[in-house]
Assembly symmetry: C2
């Protein structure tokens, strides 16, 4: 059924688009990959501000599929747990798992993007076009109008199909929203918080100014600071802060004095590591935090959106990039089954995939609250301690919600959410009502947690099916 000469126009050469281009070129399609920005391999990167992301099992699986996992791992720094910094400056490490081999990786976004572009460009059947911004997509004819930012001219590219991987502000998705010939469900939800990046430079003479192999968190109830390590010894720090309606918020932090007052009060141990705090605070933009969901993802069997264009999520589960790479894996599997019939491929892909991207979107918002509030709560810490004990002692028999989402790519996000939430509810209630006693063995505790989890899932199913 497959036509080897088909042309695919991919719009957006970020992480998702460049991996997708590479994989579809490996399958034999002719790819034109068009990107709005200039070629980031030819633009100078500011090392101190290289943005990093958490790469974990689902993302690695996508890279493996395209044969670039090994190269990517060379850019990675393992992060084995959350290093919690409390208000008094004490730190303690909360591991991501009780299993040795389960950790996440800090990786540079531009570094990984360059790797993927290089691999795609090395294929004969991939053509890269930079500096062309998509203005409008003719959904029915798989044609798109771009503005060439160098010449200022408008150019049209066509394909047998168009795949839109142009990110959270997707122009392809906007064409679907504005099309009005079919019902397009759409949702954009903003958190009350924005974010701001600041850097911790490398130590004098090289090395890291704080513990390297962790994702650092300073949870402060409404606000939060996090930091991820970079290969050059620096950390990229991100402040999450309300825009308004709080003593300290982006609306009130308008002078270097206010910024220092706030940081000295809330994050004194971090301030010591950030020599350019106020300068960077006012020099860097304040970014919004949004979740985007929509449906349908495709139209006329001609155009499909993937990655952030279809399902942008907030960064608090470290799954944005991983979900996008997993999209490529799922799309590839659906192609194995239905190659030759794009309409069927697109519809089946959404049918298989959407409930999972909806789930990770919701989990990421949940984790926003968990990270800023609950990591500092006693009951939460008791729960994590018990879960780490389960995972260390019975590695085959217990996986926390975090582990199900992050380290178990054979379980879908949706299943991970369902199972993980039920487990959390079981443990929190058993701890809260004192049913898990000191006298019980760990084995007995695990049995009780499993029974309670099953009962919760059963009761929910009865109520859901008939309510």
């Amino acid at each position: 059924m497959k036509d080897q000469n088909q042309n695919i126009l991919i719009i957006g050469a970020g992480l998702c688009g460049s991996l997708l281009a590479l994989r579809l070129a490996q399958r034999g399609y002719n790819i034109t990959l068009v990107e709005k920005r200039p070629d980031l391999r030819k633009t100078e990167q500011d090392a101190g501000r290289s943005i990093n992301l958490a790469l974990s099992d689902r993302g690695l699986r996508g890279l493996r599929l395209a044969g670039v996992e090994k190269d990517a791992l060379e850019l990675c720094i393992p992060m084995r747990g959350r290093m919690i910094h409390d208000a008094s400056g004490n730190t303690f490490l909360s591991p991501y798992s009780g299993r040795e081999n389960e950790y996440i990786n800090s990786i540079s976004r531009p570094g990984l993007n360059m790797l993927l572009l290089d691999a795609a460009e090395a294929m004969d059947n991939v053509k890269l076009v930079f500096g062309h911004g998509c203005k409008k997509v003719d959904l029915e004819n798989a044609a798109a109008i771009f503005k060439d930012y160098e010449s200022g001219n408008e150019v049209q590219y066509k394909g047998d199909i168009i795949l839109g991987t142009d990110g959270a502000g997707s122009s392809v998705r906007r064409s679907m929203y504005e099309h009005r010939k079919f019902l397009f469900s759409f949702s954009q939800q903003w958190l009350t918080h924005g974010y701001k990046e600041i850097s911790i430079p490398p130590a004098e003479g090289g090395g890291y100014r704080t513990y390297k192999e962790a994702l650092h968190i300073w949870p402060r109830g409404e606000d939060m600071l996090i930091a991820l390590p970079n290969l050059d010894g620096s950390f990229t720090v991100t402040l999450f802060l309300p825009y308004a309606n709080s003593e300290y918020c982006f609306d009130t932090l308008t002078t270097p004095e206010m910024v220092h007052e706030y940081f000295n009060k809330e994050f004194p141990d971090a301030v010591a590591l950030m020599p350019n705090l106020a300068e960077e605070f006012f020099g860097n933009p304040t970014g919004p935090l949004g979740t985007i969901k929509c449906s349908p993802w495709s139209s006329y069997g001609k155009t499909l959106i993937l990655g952030d264009a279809a399902h942008a999520i907030v960064p608090f589960y470290g799954q944005g990039m991983n979900a996008s790479f997993e999209d490529v894996v799922v799309f590839d599997e659906v192609l194995d089954r239905f190659e030759g019939d794009w309409e069927k491929v697109f519809q089946e892909y959404e049918k298989v995939r959407k409930k999972d991207t909806d789930a990770i979107a919701d989990l990421a918002v949940d984790n926003f609250h968990e990270m800023k509030e609950h990591t500092a709560s006693a009951l939460f810490q008791q729960k994590r301690k018990l879960e780490i004990a389960f995972e260390s002692e019975f590695p085959q028999h217990y996986h926390s919600k975090y582990s199900l989402v992050t380290f178990n790519e054979d379980i879908s996000y949706f299943q991970a959410m369902k199972q993980g939430r039920a487990q959390d509810k079981a443990i929190l209630n058993l701890l809260d009502d004192g049913t898990l006693t000191e006298q019980m063995t760990l084995d007995e505790k695990l049995k009780l947690v499993k029974q309670t989890t099953e009962a919760i899932l059963h009761d929910d199913a009865v109520a859901k099916n008939l309510n």
Copy 2:
């Protein structure tokens, strides 16, 4: 603090806008009420096609506040329960409540709208403008541009504030969405089903062709037909049917033969009552079913949206109009507290109200599934039977979810949802696992249901606060 000379521009003179205009005029404001459509009091109404709605306690409370409840009740036909029509043509009445005085009312939308327009127009300080469609709102200056459909000219109206009550397709809301100077969370979600109206004319010589005082339902799993009575002896019937991907759907019902084949198969007893079935099926439009949520509802302390403009919901709980009228009650209460400071009024109104309109939106989607699937299921019917027994025997001590939502306006939609869902889950699980035995007295059963409901609410709270 109140300035008696303030001018309020209300955009949209449907049910919500005309009640709001009346109430705010009663409070002393100068009102300009602008409507896109012609004055419906001067357009001939097609009696056989008068669209009707379910009016219940929350809506009546809004009408009472403005002194027009009594007049509205004269337009009402009580509907005491759901008359279920099964596939074999059997019918049985499932009461909405075990309490005598709890029922909903069928009322003509244009009839009620005319009543409200008459009452508003009778006030010296209300000016009505028809046939002017809002094109764009200047949010920062409370000014709006309208197209006068008669002259074709553009006209500007200004107020000290603008209240947008221009319905699900709100032009005021679109101005907020497109404004881009603040983050606007927005969601439009379409069901896979659309709807089509058909009529059951009055019986020859007057009277009703089927039982008058009920909301008739023909639940058929994926599809559903409902009918509400009109004062003239007719019923307005609505078919809810998938657009696509089904043997019988709007995409396949393209000939009179197909329509008759489908109706004869699924709704034979209804077909006998609808002499103009195919003609009306093809003459009337197919409408989409959507839920709209957004935030913020106001901008710059100058513009606020209410009613469907802020929270359009699907019709399956019969609460769309009731929620909009309750908006007027809540807005009036907030005015009592903060009159004189519009920004505070608008923010407090959203703070108090949004969680409730979100709740009724979700309940309405739930009820879509309940009506088309579950009203025909054995476990659901067992639950309803038990609840009706509780409500008859212990009227002060049990209120079903339906009753909490529909007949208990002192309980917010959000509370009604939380309590109602927990009760449903308790009863369904107790029935499913056989804990409610024949040997128990009704009193014992109620105690067990209440205990189980409390336990569910407690467990959810522990998991939610710390998860």
